[in-house]
């Protein structure tokens, strides 16, 4: 049960990543691989600031800002120098690898004895119900501390999802969605699509960096390698969400991305528990995303053939 709660918590933290990927990939149709760099960037910024004694809330907020900057860089490279989106992302991602090493000063930074957002939640839990408090949840004995952490993460993701939902229904937000949907049309309605793209990719990476920052605080370390494969991970979450929701409504898609992220994390946890070699994780994730991308088209084809017959 502790494992389950832990998995859900990580799933919720990675839901931020899924939301970021959802913004770039689905709303802007921008395959943004900056994610791999900005995820670590967020973790690196928060870790080094916390080690330097900065308040964890400020350190987390700085990670978000760092993500915004990284995303703007990708967006500007793409829009101002007309470089293909994927290549723009690769450039910034590669540059971020060095930057991340500089930010942390080493390739791995432990946070175990530091004051993080999660130690705050822990302390709060301890002061409310004592250090070793256990609670009975559907017949399982669960640590109250873990439950508090889970609830806080849930609260955070719900609030951020609502903000995102609100934002994408404002005037500027709808213009951003239209930019991804039909840029020619929205330019003809007087919107500078370049500005929208830069802003959107920045926002996406802000969320992704926030996710990296939270994960570093949760697991107690930041590592320069932790971003590798994160884009496909986020994409897998978004795709699972879409398959579950099967609707094109904005609110449902956002909820789908969050649920998808949690489910995907659970699936991975179960697979690992059943003895899957952790080294195969990325291979299987990539295979899964490949199938998810190919299957819908394939199924349409077979259905058509059946109709013809």
């Amino acid at each position: 049960m502790t494992l389950l709660i832990g998995s859900i918590t990580i799933g919720l933290v990675l839901a931020l990543l899924a939301l970021g990927i959802f913004i770039s990939f689905r709303i802007f149709d921008f395959p943004d691989i900056t994610a791999e760099g900005s995820f670590t960037f967020g973790a690196a910024i928060t870790a080094s600031l916390i080690v330097a004694g900065v308040n964890p809330v400020a350190a987390t907020a700085m990670a978000f800002i760092g993500g915004l900057v990284a995303g703007s860089a990708t967006g500007l490279i793409h829009t101002q120098f007309k470089i293909n989106p994927l290549l723009s992302g690769i450039l910034v991602m590669t540059a971020l690898y060095s930057i991340n090493l500089h930010v942390m000063g080493k390739s791995n930074m432990p946070l175990l004895s530091q004051l993080t957002l999660f130690t705050w939640i822990e302390n709060f839990s301890f002061s409310v119900s004592g250090k070793e408090a256990m609670i009975d949840l559907l017949g399982w004995s669960v640590s109250v501390r873990d439950l508090w952490v889970l609830v806080s993460c849930l609260l955070m993701i719900v609030v951020l999802s609502l903000i995102l939902f609100w934002f994408f229904r404002t005037n500027i937000g709808t213009a951003m969605r239209a930019t991804g949907d039909n840029d020619q049309m929205i330019r003809a309605l007087g919107v500078n699509t370049n500005v929208m793209i830069v802003f959107g990719v920045a926002l996406s990476n802000g969320f992704i960096a926030l996710s990296g920052s939270m994960l570093a605080q949760f697991q107690g370390f930041a590592d320069v390698q932790m971003g590798i494969g994160m884009m496909v991970w986020g994409l897998a979450s978004v795709i699972i969400g879409e398959a579950l929701i099967n609707e094109k409504k904005l609110g449902l898609l956002i909820a789908g991305a969050v649920i998808g992220a949690v489910l995907f994390r659970l699936l991975v946890a179960i697979a690992l528990r059943w003895g899957m070699n952790p080294n195969d994780l990325k291979l299987i994730t990539a295979g899964f995303v490949f199938l998810a991308l190919v299957l819908p088209g394939f199924m349409k084809k077979t259905r058509k053939i059946k109709l013809v017959r």
Partner: protein, 270 residues
């Protein structure tokens, strides 16, 4: 008033594929005038429209709209003055967004967009009443995604969107070319209605001579990047489809003569 003077545009300059799409084109369109642009394929009629819309910047020349020099303005900035309908019925609307959201985007054409609701409840009544004019029953479906509609319906909505805020200039780029004849005539009917009611200054590219003859108050014929004929007022009214066809034939014959003459000269001197 739209004033185009000495506009030039060459695509793929310096390569074998060099095309001089616009060669020193000058044109003045008075306020409230409805101009049809005819021309053979590759005559530069769509290029002229796109040059005005700002899809690309022209090589030389000047474009002024209501006294403002817009020659160097980017496309999105010109959109504050210009309404547009594209040839492809799918180009003018965002398929994944609802009918209401699309219209609300158009209701803000060229205006600053902030953090207010994109589709405020207060706009709903206006949306409904203006969509009702289309007579397609779409006013009851404002929540459904626009991608589910037919090309004709989407083109009608695009037309409505392009003129939601009265534009200084309306650009129509063969906007019925991709529709079936029945839908096309319906959209043309609507076009005429919107233009007359709003007294809109319009530049319409078409390949239908019937449309050119029956619509508008001026016809321009383009050929090889130049304006070859310009018929106005009474002259335009007297013009029939047969006359236009004859002119096209004449232009084509001139081309052929040019080629023949060139060949003769080649033989003579090379």
């Amino acid at each position: 008033m739209l004033e185009i003077s000495n506009l030039c545009k060459t695509f793929n300059a310096g390569t074998i594929n060099e095309v001089m799409s616009l060669q020193d084109v000058s044109l003045t369109i008075e306020d409230g005038s409805f101009v049809c642009v005819l021309g053979t394929n590759g005559s530069g009629k769509s290029t002229l429209l796109n040059a005005v819309a700002g899809t690309f910047l022209s090589d030389s020349g000047k474009i002024t709209l209501n006294g403002k020099d817009i020659t160097r303005w980017p496309e999105y900035k010109r959109a504050s003055q210009i309404g547009r309908v594209f040839q492809n019925p799918f180009s003018g609307t965002a398929p994944g967004m609802s009918i209401g959201e699309n219209l609300a985007l158009a209701a803000k054409r060229g205006k600053p967009r902030g953090l207010g609701w994109g589709l405020p409840v207060s706009l709903f009544e206006e949306l409904k009443s203006r969509v009702k004019v289309l007579n397609m029953g779409l006013e009851e479906r404002l929540e459904s995604p626009i991608g589910k509609l037919s090309g004709g319906q989407r083109q009608a909505l695009t037309l409505l969107m392009s003129s939601w805020i009265k534009p200084d200039l309306l650009l129509l780029d063969e906007h019925t070319a991709a529709l079936d004849p029945k839908t096309a005539s319906k959209v043309i009917e609507l076009t005429e209605k919107i233009i007359t009611e709003g007294n809109l200054t319009t530049l319409m590219v078409t390949h239908s001579m019937q449309q050119a003859v029956s619509l508008g108050d001026r016809i321009i014929m383009m050929h090889q990047g130049q304006i070859k004929y310009d018929f106005r007022a009474e002259e335009k009214k007297r013009l029939k489809v047969a006359d236009l066809l004859a002119l096209f034939d004449e232009l084509r014959r001139k081309d052929q003569i040019d080629n023949v003459v060139a060949e003769l000269l080649m033989r003579e001197y090379v």
